[in-house]
């Protein structure tokens, strides 16, 4: 039922309807709905603990909501295991960097997992088709590394890279999945000003070139205002506002709930 992930084709809309998540009596998400229009950048913002990452975990299948649905086109994601959602072309990064041991190439090749096929037997016997496939995907991964500006580090162990570079490895790994929907969980958190500018540029470039939908969780309001087409504001697990960045910025409830508490954090970049 999934079409091959061709970057040029417009992704289907991502539709979140009435999603509710409960942790041992605590309401982490309360009837949250929003729609990510194809090819747009949709930011999800809110104070700490508002449920942003929980929302991402629902989108990528790590949490199963107690109510509500998430649809990507015709596919209902809430019923699928994470690896099936990945196969539909939904990729994500993590707020805390989660890379695996090995080189940048190894990590990016993990991103190609869903797009490649070599199994245990073919790899163990080093069948020509497995080797061919590996070469082709390695070339593609290198291309993506160049695009993100990691070309020089392609064969370096991830553990030796700087913080900013490791954040970019995560982004590149997600892109290696050739996603139709990209979920970015605080892509510039913990970065210095120069790294932020660079990352912002990279995200803009990806969006322009690949035409995918981006869902963005971010504290950096500067980045959100610059990148987002639409913004959903969460507070205590509820969606309290939707709209363009400008509309949201003027919404009194948002000012009270979010910008008021985050205070100095506004427009940090």
């Amino acid at each position: 039922m999934s079409t091959p992930a061709a970057p040029a084709a417009a992704p289907p809309p991502l539709d979140v309807r009435g999603v509710t998540v409960r942790f041992a009596g605590l309401l982490a998400l309360d009837d949250v709905s929003f729609t990510v229009a194809p090819g747009t950048v949709h930011a999800v913002i809110g104070p700490n603990g508002a449920g942003k990452s929980t929302c991402f975990n629902v989108l990528s299948g790590l949490y199963r909501p107690s109510a509500g649905t998430v649809r990507l086109g015709a596919a209902e994601l809430t019923r699928l295991a994470p690896h099936r959602i990945a196969a539909l072309g939904v990729a994500r990064t993590f707020q805390n960097i989660v890379t695996t041991q090995g080189t940048v190439a190894d990590n990016l090749m993990l991103g190609r997992h869903a797009l490649s096929h070599a199994g245990f037997a073919a790899s163990a016997l080093r069948l020509p088709r497995a080797l061919r496939e590996q070469r082709a995907h390695l070339a593609k991964a290198r291309e993506i590394a160049e695009l993100i500006g990691l070309g020089a580090h392609f064969d370096s162990p991830v553990a030796l890279l700087s913080y900013g570079d490791r954040k970019r490895v995560e982004l590149a790994r997600a892109l290696c999945l050739e996603p139709r929907v990209l979920l970015l969980d605080e892509p510039v958190a913990g970065m210095n000003a120069a790294e932020r500018t660079r990352m912002t540029g990279v995200i803009e470039e990806i969006r322009a070139e690949l035409g995918l939908s981006v869902v963005l969780v971010e504290h950096d309001m500067g980045l959100v205002m610059r990148l987002a087409d639409e913004v959903t504001v969460l507070d205590f697990g509820r969606a309290i506002a939707h709209g363009t960045p400008d509309e949201v910025r003027r919404d009194p409830e948002v000012l009270r709930a979010y910008l008021g508490t985050a205070g100095a954090g506004e427009d940090a970049a």
Partner: protein, 299 residues
């Protein structure tokens, strides 16, 4: 009928001894996330100390020394070795688990060398005496096992519930990072957990080798591993679960052994391995154990 009651009593006695060991597993796991594969050697150490000391200082004295020394060895093992392994590695607890296997090899090798091929008597006061309880005859050692274990387990539960250490232990099991932030001295909490587990293991040793078992031998330590199924059935983090799991394991073993002749398809001595069969069956149905905390629907 007497066969049934016999098996029931044997099972309860065995279960309560397993519970001593399984409680140790659970305590250590809650405090540090480590599975202790050193328990076999701790048990053997406790038994060995009682065996060599009881002639000189009497059984009670020997038991007291054994419990204290084993507790100290377990605590030292944690403080001096395990806590220095792994550092900030997110898999540190796993690495430490493997270290406990290495420590076990060294300790068991040494104790087994000392014990040699002998069967060491522990000089326990109940010896081979038996008591008639209505229709059944029970070994005094079984009764003692049930009573002493009940007291020790009750004491351990009181520690869990009513002391600051017990509170810290629960906090550490919930979220190690948060507990540390709230000022819980994790290093002390976990060392204390190891001490308690060591003490319980030494106590268990006495009953495992008491009548009708022939005495302490070099392989006695392996019995500790049977408490693993008990702890796993209980979900590894629940003391109550470990208690129930232990009883289940003990009763299974006793009934399989008691009805050996009806179960001959399973082969002679199946009782010894029945705990593992139960564990596999339970894990097939519930991979997280019977009493695992039901958290959020985290897939």
């Amino acid at each position: 009928m007497t066969g049934f009651l016999d098996s029931l009593l044997n099972g309860l006695a065995l279960g309560s001894v397993y519970a001593l060991i399984a409680l140790g597993f659970v305590t250590i796991f809650k405090a540090s996330g480590v599975l202790s594969f050193t328990h076999g050697s701790l048990l053997l150490l406790g038994g060995y100390l009682v065996a060599v000391l009881h002639d000189d200082i009497g059984f009670a004295g020997a038991l007291a020394v054994a419990v204290l020394v084993t507790a100290a060895v377990a605590g030292a093992l944690d403080r001096l070795v395990l806590q220095r392994v792994g550092g900030t590695d997110p898999h540190a607890a796993h690495v430490q688990t493997i270290v406990t296997i290495g420590v076990d090899i060294v300790l068991v090798t040494d104790l087994a060398r000392r014990i040699g091929g002998d069967l060491l008597p522990l000089g326990d006061p109940w010896g081979s005496a038996v008591t008639d309880l209505g229709p059944v005859t029970v070994a005094d050692s079984r009764v003692a096992a049930i009573l002493v274990s009940a007291v020790a387990i009750g004491g351990a539960f009181a520690l869990f519930r009513f002391t600051p250490w017990g509170l810290s232990l629960r906090a550490a099991a919930e979220d190690r990072e948060a507990a540390a932030l709230m000022g819980v001295r994790l290093t002390r909490v976990r060392t204390a957990a190891w001490c308690l587990a060591g003490a319980l293991a030494a106590l268990a040793a006495v009953f495992l080798v008491a009548f009708p078992a022939p005495g302490l031998e070099r392989t006695t330590g392996q019995i500790a591993l049977k408490a693993f199924p008990a702890a796993i059935l209980g979900g590894m983090t629940s003391p109550v679960g470990a208690l129930v799991g232990s009883m289940l394991i003990g009763l299974t073993e006793a009934f399989v052994a008691g009805y050996q002749s009806d179960l001959h398809v399973l082969g002679e001595g199946f009782g010894d391995v029945a705990p593992y069969a139960v564990m596999v069956l339970v894990l097939l149905v519930r991979p997280a154990g019977l009493f695992a905390a039901k958290g959020a629907a985290r897939v």
